[in-house]
């Protein structure tokens, strides 16, 4: 298939074929990460700029490892300790990035849509590593890869997403990626943390809302617990953390309501004891560490697709 995307900003308009292309390339990248020498040369001489204007450990490190495994040069720009702290505007930062000549800019920003602003003003390929409440496409793709690897074809499989859907870019990207692969989604969480239209029944096809977690989990094929974003909580959305944990926390008893062996995922970082019990997070069904490992391979696949080839962001073609 042809790969014609220059940027990875959101997966909401991706076809099933595009998603599957990335997942197939991810499988080849995982093999590289299992070699004694975890490095291949396709991005030699290319520069990847990691521009993280919002806190992140695993996503930034994951991208850094991915870029290095493909032999790219990696430069970090963080908000603290850079000119952003001195009041530099996003526009000025973009102009600087442009002048530095990176081939790919991986960016995280607290403002939804910021990667679109950058993509329009630079020659580099832009990968959205999380923007505000909007999207986190690489997380959606790595969750899709991890799920498909664990439970097989996702056609007709029912995946529960539980927690703070309202503030969660991960939930939106998971939905965007899993639906085209044939999965059905059940959202669960306190009504105040579900977008108003969704709570009132105006849900995308294939998505349902369930106000009781036990019922949502009955017979489910997998569950993704979202992080309770305490830094994004406006007062009044939740009575208390203890109540949230009691009503919406994943416990061993609750997880047992799913199909036997159905996996548990979490994008991290976890609030253990709030949205997920330690026994579940580290239990036999947990794929949470696998998600982290797969994340590097998914990001390698995207960096390769965007940055290999002379035209920079080019198209994927079958070799004769």
């Amino acid at each position: 298939m042809k790969w014609n995307r220059r940027h990875v900003l959101d997966t909401d308009d991706w076809s099933r074929e595009e998603i599957e292309t990335v997942l197939d390339q991810t499988r080849a990248m995982i093999e590289i990460l299992q070699r004694p020498i975890r490095r291949a040369p396709p991005l030699r001489g290319r520069t990847v700029i990691l521009f993280f204007a919002e806190a992140s450990t695993r996503t930034r490190v994951s991208f850094e490892l991915a870029a290095k495994a493909l032999s790219a040069d990696v430069t970090n720009i963080t908000a603290s300790g850079s000119s952003v702290e001195k009041g530099e505007s996003l526009y000025d930062t973009v102009r600087t990035l442009q002048a530095l000549g990176g081939d790919v800019v991986v960016m995280r920003h607290a403002s939804s849509g910021a990667p679109y602003f950058v993509a329009e003003r630079t020659d580099a390929a832009v990968i959205n590593a999380g923007d505000g409440w909007h999207a986190h496409p690489t997380q959606g793709l790595l969750d899709a890869y991890t799920l498909r690897d664990a439970v097989g074809d996702l056609e007709g499989k029912r995946v529960v997403i539980v927690g703070d859907v309202l503030h969660s870019r991960v939930a939106r990207s998971d939905i965007n990626t899993l639906l085209p692969l044939g999965a059905r989604i059940t959202l669960a969480g306190p009504p105040t943390l579900i977008p108003l239209a969704w709570r009132c029944g105006q849900l995308p096809p294939g998505v349902t809302y369930e106000s009781d977690l036990d019922r949502a989990l009955d017979g489910a094929d997998a569950v993704i617990a979202l992080r309770l974003q305490r830094e994004r909580q406006e007062s009044g959305l939740l009575p208390s953390l203890r109540e949230y944990s009691r009503v919406w926390g994943l416990t061993a008893d609750r997880v047992a309501r799913m199909r036997p062996g159905a996996p548990v995922m979490h994008p991290g970082p976890m609030n253990e004891g709030i949205e997920i019990d330690a026994s579940v997070a580290h239990g036999a069904r947990s794929l949470i560490e696998t998600q982290v490992t797969n994340g590097v391979a998914v990001r390698m696949a995207l960096l390769y697709l965007l940055a290999a080839g002379a035209g920079g962001p080019g198209s994927l073609e079958e070799r004769a």
């Binding site: 390339q25 080849a28 990248m29 291949a40 040369p41 396709p42 390769y304 290999a308 002379a310």
Partner: protein, 157 residues
Amino acid sequence: MERDRDLSLLAIVGIRARGDALAARIQAAIRANEGVDLPLGAIDITLYRDDLTRIGYAPVVRESEIPFSVDGRVVVLVDDVLFTGRTIRGAMDALVDYGRPRAIRLAVLVDRGHRELPIRADFVGKNVPTAPGDDVRVHLSEVDGRDEVEVVTRVPA
């Protein structure tokens, strides 16, 4: 493509997408004649191509499978057509990322000449003289449904 060496050190690695099928045939032939199952692997060299920054697209990467340690082994690389030698260079680079083979040998079905790198095959099925612009197409029943080698001569327009 038989040889009198210590079979216990040998391994066969085919280069995707047709060398791996040929490698499997060689392994089966050795099993039938010698009763020995040699370790078999497949390698994809896409990420090691030296023209990645020159061609206009990112070619599909296939999964490599080397389910044994190459350390200390004599690895026989297998490919369908030997032409410029660039694929073989990529395969050697890829292989040494898996360890340090005692030796790397090269077996090809067709050697069509026109090398651009100092590489030669240890075992050749057939030498086929060609012009640089010709196309040598190997069809294998595992991949293409028939066994055939075609030489397509480019007619100047």
